[in-house]
């Protein structure tokens, strides 16, 4: 008992001593690990914000929905475009206050609540040493021999999986069901999330994996491995974006604004590619870090707005499920 009192005393003392305001940022689980962008963002931001940036991780949307107005978040980072509609409906968020015209995305962005901080495209990654004839187009992907195996993610549990379903929907529309049936022979398995899929690919279980156009960058920069390539299709690739948003009734409104501004800064934008293995949202391509500029990227980009996606999503997933359940 006495020991707890002493511990409590120490805790109180240290809190009383620390007058620095705390900015609580909710982030996805991967974000704050030592391999994620969290630590460097925290260090850089704290250099000038005169504050203490504290991460709080977990499943972003379920947590916000569960907590409602009692949320302790000041800022939420990492909400993907597929959940922004649901997040918006909570009415927890304030306008981001930044100039959308400073964005350098391949699509036009008009949302004034959710601010993109990095982006990528869905793509199938292969190992060029084991695959000598990678498909040159989505159509060619459908005609691959049955023994070429692909791992994908479940659109019901993974943003990249959902992006693939919307990608197929955007390319093939009403014929999506046939596309899935054609593809089903090549699908080795469907995993819950991206990391399980990618693990199967790097272990050699699968020939191709549904991932991002930016995945080869990791192998090039971190591992000096130049054998992993993204198959670029002329039909276009689905666009995926991660956003940051400010909680409306935060007590740290100024700090939160400061953070939003920091996200748009050149400094943040040059950190984020290598920290999060993704493309910066507000940095001209000519200013990208070396190696990133050489990354093969699709010329054509496909994207459904939040409202379009909401209309199509359920039907597209159901088509996918039906075709793969045969």
């Amino acid at each position: 008992m006495r020991r707890t009192l002493i511990a409590a005393g120490i805790l109180l003392a240290s809190q009383a001593g620390a007058d620095t305001p705390v900015l609580t940022v909710y982030a996805g689980d991967y974000f704050t690990s030592e391999w994620g962008p969290g630590p460097i963002i925290e260090a850089e931001f704290e250099k000038f914000c005169d504050c203490d940036l504290q991460w709080s991780t977990g499943d972003l949307l379920p947590r916000l929905l569960l907590e409602g107005e009692r949320t302790k978040a000041d800022v939420v980072i990492g909400l993907t475009s597929d959940v922004t509609a649901k997040a918006r409906a909570t009415e927890l968020f304030a306008p981001h206050g930044q100039d959308n015209s400073a964005l350098t995305l391949p699509i036009e962005w008009t949302d004034d609540t959710f601010l993109p901080f990095n982006y990528g495209h869905t793509a199938f990654i292969y190992n060029e040493t084991t695959m000598d004839a990678p498909p040159a187009s989505f159509d060619a992907l459908l005609d691959l021999p049955d023994d070429v195996k692909i791992v994908i993610q479940d659109p019901r549990t993974s943003i990249s999986g959902l992006a693939l379903v919307l990608w197929v929907q955007a390319l093939y529309g009403d014929k999506s069901a046939e596309v899935w049936e054609k593809l089903s022979d090549n699908i080795l398995t469907v995993t819950k999330d991206w990391s399980a899929s990618y693990g199967l690919f790097t272990d050699g279980e699968a020939d191709m994996v549904l991932s991002y156009t930016t995945s080869p960058a990791y192998h090039m920069i971190a591992e000096e491995d130049f054998t992993k390539k993204a198959a670029i299709f002329p039909e276009g690739h689905y666009f995926m974006v991660e956003t940051v948003a400010k909680i409306a009734d935060t007590e740290q409104s100024e700090l939160a604004d400061k953070f939003m501004a920091y996200v748009m800064s050149r400094e943040f934008q040059t950190i984020i590619p290598t920290a999060n293995w993704s493309l910066p949202s507000a940095l001209p391509q000519s200013d990208w870090p070396e190696a990133w500029a050489q990354l093969p990227l699709p010329e054509k980009v496909l994207f459904y707005s939040e409202t379009e996606a909401a209309d199509l999503q359920a039907q597209a997933i159901e088509t996918w499920r039906n075709a793969l359940s045969q």
């Binding site: 709080s56 977990g58 499943d59 947590r63 699908i187 990618y198 790097t202």
Partner: protein, 518 residues
């Protein structure tokens, strides 16, 4: 027969039982209160329900069918290292799922040892993905359990009967019909039922090996409903269906589930005079070889790739291992605090129906319990601060039915042999626990604690829902490594996880037994 007087009463057990039921019911209530009327169950949900039942049935039947020859071979062969082998063969049951999947892939995957061998021989490969992959993994987990249960059955046949059979010079087929088949008839239905319930609530296996949306289990559908659709009413509905399905099967099974053997197979094999022919010997040897290969090769592959990855393991993994150890320790404490009084209560009742309470924990979705408590705690305090205790409670609930199966017979036996003496000496209540039950049941307590610790150390569980970044568990950290392209370090973490699960089990089990013998 009138209720016999007993040195312990059931009050603490009733309290513990109430806590168990309340922790599940309150969580459910929390969800229902927050849920808005939803669309109900869609075709995908019904498909999940069907698939769950089919795979659980297949997994249970195949596990038990394969365990018959394996247990028979182990029961009638004496060989050096038999006890070590039996101990090792039990390992998959306490293996963390994410570790086991890695091991299974290394052996049965497209690039695995089996397919490599088949390829070298010019034979067509096999695929581990799909229904058969899920079943294969479940058989891998549950074959050890079924084998232990059957081995116990074989050892319950008195040696005198085998002597009689030898005297009459019965051939192996007749020995099977007259001695072994009646025993199997008694044990098989319960073993099937138990494994069916375990597989019914399985979740993680189907994630990777399912092969596609048709291999969705109910638990996975609940996960989707919670985490991605945030459809609380659908999640609650699915939880209830799972509870009814698993709970119903469990209730029916309760009457026929055999007791979990403590020393299962650890005793010396019965001297056998039948099955001495060369053919029988060869057959048994082959069965043991195949069974061991199936159960041990995946472990070996985890060990090999893990050893290679060990140097890559960052310091944070060790910190996470410490947190996991803490959670496991807490889970064990919570489990013992619930299971001991409950088991005492069940043991002094004439009928065992109260044991159904223990099955509630296993039948309820951990995600439902976690989310429900998140909703309940949220208005009062920050749920993240309670994430580890909640995880510990959920883990303890999952292990409760196994613990009860282990503890109840031990307590019954202690009371049957020395309860009268306690009464005569006025050693009642706590002193009866202190001086009779706890010391007498120390081996069972160690076994239950080890099982709980091992199961909870590998559990990814509810912690993912509201994790504290500074207090990551090892499975979660391993998952993060996989998500950060760190495959080799993840393999190293998997090995650490494997060693910790086996180590915690071994320490509790052997430690308690040694102490009891000292």
């Amino acid at each position: 027969m009138a209720q016999r007087a007993q040195p312990i009463n059931g009050r603490a057990g009733v309290v513990a039982g109430t806590i168990v039921v309340a922790s599940v019911c309150l969580a459910f209530l929390g969800i229902v209160l927050r849920a808005e009327p939803g669309a109900g169950l869609g075709p995908a949900d019904w498909q999940a329900i069907r698939f769950t039942v089919v795979q659980a049935t297949l997994s249970a039947l195949i596990s038990v069918a394969l365990s018959v020859p394996l247990a028979r071979a182990l029961a009638r062969r004496q060989m050096p290292g038999r006890q070590v082998l039996i101990t090792l063969l039990g390992a998959p049951f306490i293996l963390p799922v994410i570790v086991a999947v890695l091991g299974l892939l290394a052996v049965f995957g497209r690039n695995g040892w089996v397919n490599d061998t088949l390829g070298t021989l010019g034979l067509p490969g096999i695929s581990i993905y799909g229904l058969h992959g899920v079943v294969l993994a479940h058989v891998f987990f549950n074959l050890p359990l079924a084998t232990r249960l059957l081995l116990q059955g074989w050892q319950s046949i008195p040696a005198e009967r085998f002597r009689l059979a030898a005297q009459l010079d019965l051939p192996p087929s007749m020995v099977f019909r007259t001695l072994e088949w009646p025993m199997l008839q008694r044990i098989l239905p319960g073993a099937v039922a138990l494994i069916f319930v375990i597989c019914l609530t399985s979740f993680a296996v189907a994630l990777t090996l399912g092969g596609g949306p048709k291999a969705t289990t109910i638990e996975l559908a609940i996960y989707q409903a919670f985490r991605f659709d945030f459809d609380l009413s659908r999640a609650a509905l699915l939880s209830v269906i799972q509870l009814i399905l698993a709970g119903g099967a469990a209730l029916i099974a309760l009457w026929i589930i055999p007791q979990l053997p403590l020393t299962g197979g650890m005793d010396r094999p019965v001297q056998r005079w039948d099955a001495r022919g060369g053919g029988q010997r060869l057959l048994d040897g082959l069965v043991i070889l195949l069974g061991s290969a199936f159960l041990l090769l995946p472990l070996a592959s985890v060990a090999v790739s893990g050893t290679l990855g060990l140097p890559q393991v960052p310091a944070s993994v060790w910190a996470a291992a410490g947190v996991s150890l803490w959670v496991a320790g807490l889970s064990v404490l919570v489990l013992l605090a619930l299971a001991l009084p409950l088991a005492g209560w069940i043991a002094i009742r004439a009928r065992g129906s109260a044991e159904a309470i223990g099955l509630i924990g296993l039948s309820a979705s951990p995600l439902m319990i976690g989310t429900g408590w998140f909703i309940l705690i949220n208005p009062v305090m920050d749920p993240v601060r309670l994430s580890l205790p909640v995880t510990a409670v959920v883990n303890a609930l999952m292990a409760l039915p196994f613990a009860l199966r282990i503890l109840v017979p031990g307590i019954r036996e202690a009371l049957a042999s020395h309860g009268r003496l306690c009464l005569a000496l006025n050693v009642n209540g706590w002193p009866a626990w202190r001086w009779l039950i706890l010391p007498r049941c120390l081996p069972q307590i160690g076994f239950a604690a080890g099982l709980t610790g091992a199961l909870s150390i590998g559990d990814l569980g509810v912690i993912a829902l509201f994790a504290d970044p500074d207090r990551t568990t090892l499975p979660l950290q391993m998952y993060r490594l996989m998500g950060a392209y760190q495959t080799e370090a993840a393999a190293g973490a998997a090995l650490i996880l494997l060693l910790m699960a086996l180590g915690i089990f071994w320490i509790c089990d052997k430690g308690a037994r040694r102490y009891a013998e000292a």
